[in-house]
């Protein structure tokens, strides 16, 4: 079977991992970093993803997309309150948010697909083979639409998504395998944009989720905004400067707020500086950890309610929890750790890197699906109750939250009017009693034969699969005939739209490739330029003048090529520099070796 990779598609950062010799490993990029910032910059003729895209956050705020995960499976009204924080324009079409960049619009799954492709390329470069199958993680509290949107993103990126698994459960897999964790555990996962709590029982290789809860709109981003809001207000009051009119300054504020928050996890105070547009000068301010905690205490408190609810649903007391595991970068905050410790009465664990543990777990799940191991098995639950709308807008529940998946429920439908030929069904997800208070998932129409009222009997099977995604089938009880159902998602892309986006992504693939090759060549050119300069300053005196001049000239030509648009030319000039410095490298090697051996007795060397 082809290789399956595990992907953590995060709000702030994304990672890709695989299984090597029964241990999961994260793949690092050329720059040695394992995290790929979930940032996409869309310039006129190039698409930039990850670390290089981060530079564009301030330079090209209107064209640089971050935190797109917050929009997955959502409509515009869902994010109305936070619109002001985003420098790019958002619209809506067919219940799906669209991000406007110049003349074009992109759906959140399309943007996520760009990040997935970057990860895919990273893995392909690592293995030297095509990668087409993946396990992708999502927050446990993601609803059906958000899961489907994630699956769509994989499809658009040319990945067959074999499984969507929950982030906290993935983390527990990594802990179970690497740290041999056993017993009843709680996984507290506070990421960049989402919060999850999952209670699991780990026994003999079975990872049984007992309950899960969370908030898909609460994470590190919200903590940053509290700090940013203070800065924005002070700029207005003290500097008579409205940053909301300057998208680039807003981005600087956001990034500085985040950096300050991160620093305050280590230090008691941190200095923050923001360069304002010309003539307005500079803004400087010191934040203390106490101030940060006062600003964000209620956010931390907001995570404790779901923790108590999950414990309650699992029929457990805090003291029943043997271990608490921390996942997500935001759990580095001392206040978060303190409150968790107070709630559960135990010191939380974080042996595995909280940024990487989810991707590692995804790789373990990928390994299980490949058939490589039968030792481990994850039994997850559906986070939200599933129901249908009945008379008077009341929800009739079909599958309760925290039911182990796969889960199914059957419901019999009939007609109220003679000769009625169809029945409308509205599927909902949520815990409230009235349809208007829950999340609309989908609508579909059942076809029934024209018969007297109450005579037709159509059995509808609602099945939540192992991905936590709903499948619907219907059968006429009298004839036994199975009916195919076209479900129209309330907040999702249609199959045709996904198809179109796939073909579009192929069209752009050639351009994408050219753009990334150029970026890579430029980065390498820069690196070799630096290295050569250093070598010249160290060993310039060891070679003759002509040779030195030849090296200088090759460097100058490389510089010219680097500003061009053709990656092949840059590669050729890089080769030239390498040739010109070949001798210098040898000489340097010799002298370093001699220096190393100088003043040493033979006995110290051999």
């Amino acid at each position: 079977m082809a290789r399956i990779v595990g992907i953590d598609l995060g709000t702030t950062n994304s990672l890709i991992a695989y299984m090597h010799d029964q241990a999961p490993r994260v793949i690092a990029g050329r720059n040695g970093r394992t995290l790929v910032p979930s940032v996409v910059a869309m310039m006129d003729n190039s698409l930039i993803v990850g670390d290089p895209a981060k530079e564009h956050l301030v330079r090209n705020p209107e064209r640089t997309i971050y935190s797109v995960k917050r929009f997955m499976g959502k409509g515009l009204e869902d994010v109305a309150e936070e619109l002001k924080y985003f420098p790019y324009r958002l619209t809506e079409q067919g219940g799906v948010i669209r991000i406007q960049i110049g003349e074009k619009t992109y759906s959140p799954p399309q943007i996520s697909a760009m990040i997935l492709k970057e990860l895919k390329h990273r893995a392909e470069a690592h293995f030297g083979e095509d990668i087409s199958k993946a396990v992708i993680t999502v927050p446990a509290y993601f609803n059906d639409s958000q899961r489907q949107a994630t699956k769509d993103a994989g499809t658009i990126a040319g990945l067959e998504v074999l499984r969507i698994i929950n982030e906290p459960t993935a983390a527990s897999l990594a802990y179970g395998l690497q740290e041999h964790t056993q017993g009843t555990i709680a996984v507290y996962d506070l990421g960049g944009g989402t919060f999850d709590i999952s209670i699991l029982k780990l026994k003999d290789g079975i990872f049984e989720v007992l309950a899960t809860n969370g908030n898909t709109h609460l994470g590190g981003d919200d903590f940053d905004r509290r700090v940013a809001d203070v800065i924005i207000q002070e700029l207005r009051e003290q500097h008579r400067f409205d940053p909301e009119q300057h998208p680039d300054t807003m981005q600087s504020i956001r990034l500085e707020a985040e950096r300050t928050k991160v620093r305050l996890s280590e230090d008691q105070k941190a200095m923050l500086t923001i360069e304002l547009p010309s003539e307005t000068g500079q803004y400087r301010r010191e934040f203390t950890r106490d101030q940060l905690e006062a600003l964000t205490r209620d956010l931390v408190e907001q995570t404790l309610g779901p923790c108590r609810q999950a414990l309650n649903d699992a029929d457990l007391q805090p003291s029943d929890i043997d271990e608490v595991i921390l996942v997500g970068g935001s759990t580095r905050m001392p206040l978060v750790r303190q409150r968790i410790q107070e709630l559960f009465g135990t010191i939380p664990h974080c042996e595995l890197n909280p940024d990487e543990v989810v991707a590692l777990g995804a790789a373990v799940q990928a390994d299980i699906l490949s058939g490589a191991t039968q030792d481990l098995l994850l039994l997850d639950v559906t986070p939200l109750s599933l129901g249908i709308e009945t008379m008077g807008g009341v929800v009739s529940p079909l599958i309760r939250r925290n039911t182990t998946i796969p889960a199914s429920a059957k419901e019999l439908f009939t007609t109220y009017v003679d000769g009625q030929t169809s029945v409308d069904i509205h599927v909902l997800q949520g815990e409230r009693e009235l349809a208007k208070d829950t999340r609309s998932l989908a609508r579909f129409q059942l076809k029934v034969p024209p018969l007297p009222a109450g005579v037709p009997r159509v059995e509808v099977m609602f099945l939540i699969d192992a991905n936590g995604i709903l499948n619907v089938t219907a059968k006429d009880v009298r004839t036994g005939q199975v009916q195919s159902i076209e479900v129209k998602p309330s907040y999702g892309l249609s199959d045709e739209e996904v198809e179109r986006m796939i073909s579009e992504s192929f069209k752009f693939a050639a351009e994408d490739l050219k753009a990334r090759q150029l970026i890579e060549a430029r980065t390498e050119a820069e690196a070799i330029h630096k290295a050569t300069q250093k070598a010249l300053s160290l060993g310039g005196h060891l070679i003759n003048a002509e040779e030195k001049a030849a090296i200088q000239e090759s460097l100058a030509t490389l510089e010219t090529a680097r500003t061009g648009e053709d990656h092949r030319v840059i590669r050729a000039r890089i080769a030239d520099v390498e040739k010109a410095t070949h001798h210098l490298a040898e000489v340097l090697m010799d002298t370093t070796l001699k220096e190393a051996l100088q003043n040493k007795k033979l006995t110290e060397i051999f």
């Binding site: 079975i206 299980i368 039968q374 182990t404």
Partner: protein, 240 residues
Amino acid sequence: MEPAQRTASKRTEVQMARSMCWHCQSEVTGEYFCQQCVKVQPLSKELDYFTCLGLPRLLTIDTARLEAKFYELSRTFHPDFFQNKTESEQGISLGNSALLNMAYRTLKDPIRRAEYLLQLEAGSAKDIRTPPPADLFEEILALQEDLEEFRSASSQQEATSLGQLRTKLQADQASLEQRQKDMEARLFELFMKWDSFQDRTGQDDRLRAEKDPVLKEMREILSNRTYLRSIVDDLVATTG
């Protein structure tokens, strides 16, 4: 709270949907897989949850044994282990897992287990509403009045009367919860009584005559308990 398993049962073979393999048409002799072509077989839709999880049809069950069987069958049927198989086999794995999960969820919880057994024995318990006993009914009527008063007091922000009412409601809640506990204790007594019938063989009519009142009382308690629960939930939601 689960009394230990008392009755040893003889091992019941799990029923398959049909005795012929859906794939190779040979007779299925293995438990879950065809011995000829090694394809997984669909569990019968008529399979009752007790049989599915290899337990005797009793109300007091060995929860450790239940869990072990659930884990064992999960390892047999879970879709994770059918990723490389055909679409038909994946479909069967999905259906079997969903049935297994439902069976486990139902039997794990003593109340759901009892409701399920009643349904097996004498049709659904949920559809039949028995009126609550008179004393409980009166208590709940008084409580509803207090709740109304509390709601109007809290909307008018009357701090003193609000405090008094809260104390009163909290006392009511404690008394109702005690009632619920008493009901559950009685229910578990009935569980034991019911299970003791299963050991006996004898005159069918006489056994039936003894069984029916137990079934009836269990149904009444389950119905009242559901009613009580919704009242307590309402109370908790209002007083916070």
